[in-house]
Amino acid sequence: MTQSTDAFDRDVRRFVYDVVLRRGFPPTTAEAAAGLRATVDEVRACFARLAAGHILVLQSGAGEILMANPFSAVPTPFLVQFDDYACYGNCIWDAMGIVAMRGRDALIKTSCGDCGALMEVRIVTGALQSGEGVAHYALPARRWWDDIVFN
């Protein structure tokens, strides 16, 4: 890597979101290293900087991406179905955020946090077409990043 850290971080961020928007889940450190002609250690260090800046959330241990908000790298109760792929959001905000980010029609499938009943939200041509219910934010805004996985 011969470029500045800031420039590299921007390139990594662009690469991560290119990949996640194309296929619905973020790249591994190895994939990012290969795609950016960098070393895994350089990518890992960059992921850590992006996580410190609250742009990514990493899995504990290996330093792989857990969340490239609004996308989740692992299955969650917030399934987002497009016509070309299905993926997972980290919460109802993020599930809708994925739809907003892609700008495509989608069906979100989740369940009531209380009773577990299936809940579906359909978004068509940028508008909420069907769905019901309310979103509940358990923690006040200033505490969201205290425990972003819980939140």
Binding site: A135, H136, R142
Partner: protein
Amino acid sequence: MLLFRSEEHVTRWCKAWRMERGGILTLGQQWRLAKVWYGADRRDPTWQRKTPDEAEAIFAELGLTGPFWRLRPSA
């Protein structure tokens, strides 16, 4: 942030988990927040996270005001 069938279900969930009731958004408010929050292309080199002032202004436009929606402790 979970989705619930109604505010009554939120109340039951809070009681079951001994949690205080937090902030409630209608589905329409949530969709508008998602569009504003995630509408910008994060691949753009000039993209930056929203500042606390920008975020609080977005919340306020959606009617989300009061201490719960502030990003900094009150002075």
